[in-house]
Amino acid sequence: MAIGKTRQIVLIVIALILWSCNDKPAEPLPVESVFKVIPESGSTITRFEFNAAETFLTANDEHPILIRYDWQNDGIWDQDYTSSPLIKHRYLKPGTYRVRMEARNMSDIRDTSFATIVVAQGYSPPVVHLSIQPDSSNIYTQFSFDASKTYDDEDSSNLLTFRWDFDGDGNWDTGFDHNPVSLHQYDASGKFNAGVEVKDPTNRSSVLRKMVTVDLLNDSIKATFTADGGFSTVVDVFHFNASGSRFLGRDDKKLTYSWDILCDGLWEAVNLTSPLYNLVIKTEGIVRVKLRVTDDRGLYMDTIKKIEVFPENSPPNAVIVAGNRLGNLKSNYYFHSYGTSDRETSILDLKYQWDVNEDGLMEPEFDNLREINCHFATLGKHLVRLKVTDSHNDSSTATDTVHVYNGSHETGVMVDKRQFITEYYSTVKIGNLWWTQENMKVEIKPGPGGKPPALVRMNYAGDTTLTKRYGGLYDYNNVLYPICPKGWRLPTKAEFQEMVNLEAPNGFAPLLLGGSSEMHILMGGYIDLTKKSVGLKSVTNIWLADRNPLYAWYIDIIKGEDRPVIVSSTYGYSVRCVKSD
């Protein structure tokens, strides 16, 4: 029993030993060289196929096998190593050949096998080679047709005969002779499929054809021209000058000049004796101009140049922007021309002139300034005119209007650059606070991913022209955006009350447009809870910063009321901004 157990354990352990040895490196696979020859015999024109597919039966990406051949077993390998099982070979001499093939793998294990092939004499037609020099030239050229590299596997080259078809019409232009080279000159331009037929002494023959291009081009003509147009437009004259063209080495040759202005095949001028040509090109953009210079034999050379034809000059687009539209006799009014553009002239090369006193004359002190500051000496409405002139002396004007009111407050400008177009607001200093004299108009579209978030502006009755005068209307959520630019904020109820106490203690009239407070408050109406626009020209509500409850400053000129009121956040009201001094 004990011996039986021992035997069992020993067998188990031996099994483990055998199993554990499986991770030893695999032995390289054997290589066996085997190939077949198809056909087994043939002639000197037979292409024998050597098929070693059996050799590659054990080959794969991890165990590649390569083979090579020694076609006559002379010890020199004639075929380089290949992974292809199929190789073709032709024996050019009759006889009995012993073929050797070697197969090897990447572990340098090799095997060699042999086969015997009987090759009889065969007969094949000549193998034709044809060279034409040049293969493209003009009608005055002697073309050289050279078939001297033609060979025949069985016959000497000097036993071969040749005949020629130069124009490719299928009719042989010469009889057979032993000269493999022939010269020919064509009498017309065109493309010709020229051919040669080569015959061996057994009357076996081969034909080879090649294309010859015969043209009227002359490489000796140098065609060139200049286009003196500069910044020429569709109404200007281009001056073409081909006097730089010449016949190389023969300055006495008479040349004529033809012009195809748009390279459309329509020649605007043909065979001019003068190299000069003037023309208005009415096609706008980049156009191609072809010059053809022709010699006295009718041969020519072309050249093409691109020129740019600019559109007829357009006047500048003048833009004037008033920074502060409201002010008093002491106010410094700011104007700029940013946004002015011109299609043909750089904005830096435009000429800027300003007329600020409505006398029709430009003020020389402001010449070529893109922004100006000025004062006005009289009350009322003032028209300011900007004239912009481009490099073609075309000009345009733009105007803007500002108002000068009676008042003595310090005034200024608030700049809001948060939108694509910078907005300006007139400001007035009352007490220790700067106030905007106009209602906010800002509207911010959402950016990618909602950054920045939208600031939604409502327009009275949906009419944006009213917004230009009365400003926008905003619900309280949008007012919290913040609606005022950096450094500015909503006024508190206490601050508004203090301003009213200071400037309009006896009624709201001084607060209105033209009033002595210079707050220039307009009755812009509001949008109620039903989103209805009401109260234009009679009522205004201006948001205040106070919360819990929400307040607005309410003025109704019909009812004669002027006070802070508690309101709902969903109303659409006007906004003024303040800044501490």
């Binding site: 354990i9 020993v10 030993i17 490196p25 590649p64 390569l66 290949t82």
Partner: protein, 329 residues
């Protein structure tokens, strides 16, 4: 007692029998080092060939630089295999000793050159026979399938926005047999000097991404705008005597075969004290693979990006004109 002895003997045999044989190398001579990355976008193909002494039993190589050049006749052949048939055999011929600093810089290697177009999704086999050594090295790989850029894409005139607020996303379709991709921008610009205007082109390459068998029809890479401008500033020398004007941008993606992917991937974060040993050459060292490019040409940056090129913190010293064609100093 007998049983215990038998067990001990067997365990000892078991332990001894499980020794793994380690073949350090039984070669006593040098081995060829081959680098051949076929360019599927071109017809001129190159192969770099030198030799190396890897075996501890190898002869100590001579000290001269030429010692790494293989002398004597060497046959370099690349076979194209389609449907298990060798359909094309191309011989490479030596054109000189490498002097450039290209993909595998080394001035001690032969450059072999062949002239043929690489077919898509075909097997390529490389056979190098070194006559003097009676030695054969071999490799094979699958060429890449065509692929295309999906985004950015035409219509012509669509502009690229490269600013802090937006990093453009490049999408492309998967290339069969590819394992690695690299996105690049080819920037065209003009250098305006007093003596004339020169057209210039610059490739800006971003990080490689190893994507072998990721699911999905498309792969993507986000181009970091700041990184683009920073790379540009590193590649273009600042020169206050000239002005530069942006002309256009081509966007391209280069795909690499599996062997190239494994090679480049293994270089990522490589321990400097760890020898790099990826190869796919039988009886040699080196790499055999291919690259293929998909590109879309003639994009334009939008005006804001051109202005950023002109006045941005990374590139302002490069003197690019802004979108108005001006330079405000």
């Amino acid at each position: 007692m007998i049983m215990r002895n038998l067990i001990l003997i067997c365990i000892a045999m078991f332990a001894l029998s499980c020794d793994t044989e380690i073949h350090v190398s039984d070669e006593s001579g040098p081995v060829p080092v081959v680098y051949c990355i076929l360019n599927q976008d071109d017809t001129i193909q190159r192969l770099l060939l030198s030799k190396s002494y890897l075996s501890i039993n190898a002869d100590i190589p001579p000290s001269s630089a030429d010692s790494l050049l293989i002398t004597g006749k060497v046959n370099v052949t690349i076979e194209t295999v389609e449907n298990s048939q060798v359909t094309e055999v191309n011989r490479f011929f030596p054109t000189g000793v490498s002097k450039d600093s290209g993909f595998f810089p080394n001035d001690r290697q032969w450059i072999y050159q062949g002239n043929f177009k690489i077919k898509e999704k075909a097997t390529y086999r490389l056979i190098i026979e070194i006559k003097n050594w009676d030695y054969v090295a071999y490799s094979s790989f699958q060429s890449l399938g065509s692929f295309s850029l999906v985004d950015p894409a035409y219509p012509v005139g669509r502009k690229i926005h490269l600013l802090d607020d937006h990093n453009p996303l490049v999408h492309w379709t998967r290339s069969e047999n590819a394992a690695i991709y690299q996105v690049g921008f080819r920037l065209h610009f003009k250098e305006i000097r007093s003596e004339g205007i020169m057209d210039k082109t610059l490739n800006i390459l971003f990080a490689t991404t190893f994507r072998r068998d990721d699911p999905g029809a498309f792969y993507s890479y986000t181009v970091n705008s700041n990184q683009f401008y920073k790379k540009l500033a590193e590649l273009i020398p600042s020169d206050s005597s000239l002005l530069r004007r942006y002309s256009g941008t081509d966007v391209f993606v280069v795909a690499g075969s599996e062997s190239v992917g494994f090679y480049l991937n293994s270089l990522q974060g490589q321990d400097p004290f760890q020898f790099f040993d990826y190869k796919n050459i039988f009886n040699g060292q080196g790499l055999f693979g291919s690259l293929l490019t998909a590109e879309t040409k003639d994009f334009q940056f939008d005006d804001q990006s051109i202005d950023s090129l002109a006045y941005g913190s990374f590139t302002k010293q490069l003197n690019f004109l802004d979108s108005d064609g001006h330079r405000k100093n």
